[in-house]
């Protein structure tokens, strides 16, 4: 098992892909502290002060950090960029690597980190972020001893398309997309909506200990944001809608 930030090192995790932005500090399996970032509008302003506050409270200096991890999306386009740019800047300034990881995967890990509720342990997980209207960002996982194993690729889709996905056995839905559409989801099959007890940032810390897939940057190499949707802009002279 990979310890976050290496033996004895502290890892800082942050995620602002969804309105519930969070920052967490951990070492190995220990989560030392968590900060919530308020509303989505406040994330950019509160992120670095929250990091400072978290480190101060834990009596951990910035130089004691050995790794950073941030949610790379999908989610709010702006939120994805705030986390990515901040993580890159921190990595460059501290001289440590920053890893970017799917925020939908971090949500599955947050459910594991939060104790899994009354789960039977053999359910399929579907993590859903709200993408406005009837649209969601979705990813599917089976949970094994080595953590959540992604089934297929994450996608931007209509809720109806997600609910029509053929799956055997019970499914647990989680995320702000699941909470928003709880009624439709629970009427559509052997589906249950659950709320993880841990934050996305804590999910990232667990994902680090499990060595789950991520990309890495030194803070100068570009951030691989997972938007999953294009801009709605249409080139001059083009006919029809954009890629959204």
């Amino acid at each position: 098992m990979t310890m976050p930030g290496g033996e004895g090192g502290w890892t800082l995790a942050l995620d602002t892909s969804t309105p519930r932005g969070s920052v967490a500090l951990g070492r190995g399996s220990e989560v030392r502290g968590v900060r919530h970032l308020g509303s989505a509008r406040e994330h950019a302003a509160r992120l670095v002060p929250a990091v400072r506050d978290l480190l101060d409270d834990a009596r951990v200096g910035p130089d004691d950090l050995t790794a950073l991890v941030a949610g790379s999306g999908p989610g709010s386009f702006t939120g994805v960029r705030v986390a990515g740019a901040t993580a890159m800047g921190l990595a460059a300034g501290l001289g440590i690597p920053a890893r970017g990881r799917s925020s939908l995967l971090a949500l599955a890990c947050a459910w594991m980190a939060g104790g899994r509720g009354d789960s039977r342990g053999d359910e399929v997980l579907c993590t859903l972020f709200d993408a406005r209207g009837d649209r969601v960002y979705a990813a599917w996982f089976r949970v094994g001893d080595s953590g959540p194993l992604e089934i297929g690729s994450p996608a931007a889709a209509r809720l109806g398309e997600v609910l029509a996905t053929p799956v055997s056995g019970p499914v647990l839905f989680l995320g702000d997309g699941a909470l928003r559409h709880r009624e439709k989801i629970e009427m559509a099959g052997a589906f249950r909506v659950v709320e993880p007890a841990a934050t996305l940032a804590e999910g990232h810390l667990l994902a680090e200990t499990l060595g789950l897939p991520a990309f890495e940057t030194d803070g100068f190499k570009g951030w691989q944001a997972q938007y999953l949707r294009g801009s709605s802009a249409v080139p001059s002279g083009a006919v029809g809608g954009g890629s959204e």
Partner: protein, 349 residues
Amino acid sequence: MSEPLVLGIESSCDETSAALLRGNRILGHVILSQDVHRLYGGVVPELAARAHLGVIGEVVRGALEEGGASLGDLDAIGVTAGPGLIGGLLVGVSWARGAAFGLGIPLIPVHHMEAHLFAPSLENPRADPPFVALLVSGGHTLLLHAEAWGRYHLLGETRDDAAGEAYDKVAKLVGLPYPGGPVIERIAREGDPARHPFPRPMLRRNARPGDADYFDVSFSGLKTAVAERVREVEEKGQLEAERAHLAAGFQEAVVEVLAAKVRRAIEATETPRVLIGGGVAANARLREALGEVLPKGGELLHASPRLSLDNGAMVARVALHRLREGWDAADEGSVADASLPFPGLVRAA
């Protein structure tokens, strides 16, 4: 003691730029212009923000390498905090905040248009106040009286479109690509500005110093006049033949109005020096016209075309000024603001 080493970062519109500055010496400077917007006939904010995130680290690395320095050598980071497109601003400010926190050095938020005010001083150490300043770009048209750095009186501004915005819109009307400024200037040289005499807005009816719009400008009506004339020549199948004349007529109207307003500012403030800044400051015809309204002993101050673009060097220059003034604020104050107020700017009485 040597001058501090400052990194400046700019990402407010469609240029990602970083510069390394010690004193007035630019040690490293990278400006990456986003070409993708040409396809859309204007800047697409979401695409701009995505592009900034993809390249900001490499742009900073490029400036550092060119200057032979590392982040650890820096004394401060300056970053454009506004005004501008919020998506792009957030990328620059977030990267800079993270880096400044990690390095334990000050982060200095910079106003984009004040940075344009400082740009000429990077190449000309005498380009400091007092002067009348005309700041003209795609997003702003401001006429100021700068008494000293940080003490600015707003004399006039646009009531609608910015000058650069008018160039872009007219370019589109006559079938020219984005950005409109350079291409209109180029083809206007081959046209007769008198062939299509467009109106000179806000001149005749606001000619007395006490008039409310004495220093203000407006380009919306001019754009409408061009659109009307374009429709007429298109109906005759003459747009191709008239394009250069239309461009020349439009440019002459813009230049004449701006020059007249600057002349009024010179007279009202009794300040013979004029600074022109912003992307439209690269327009040679405008600079020529402003040179003609200068009084005896007057001086026109402007940056080179490269430093008239949005760039990191001018941002670093403002940050350096703040450091010299004794900047000691914590980085927590640095937040991107699309409508950031111009520091030290008050409306003239």
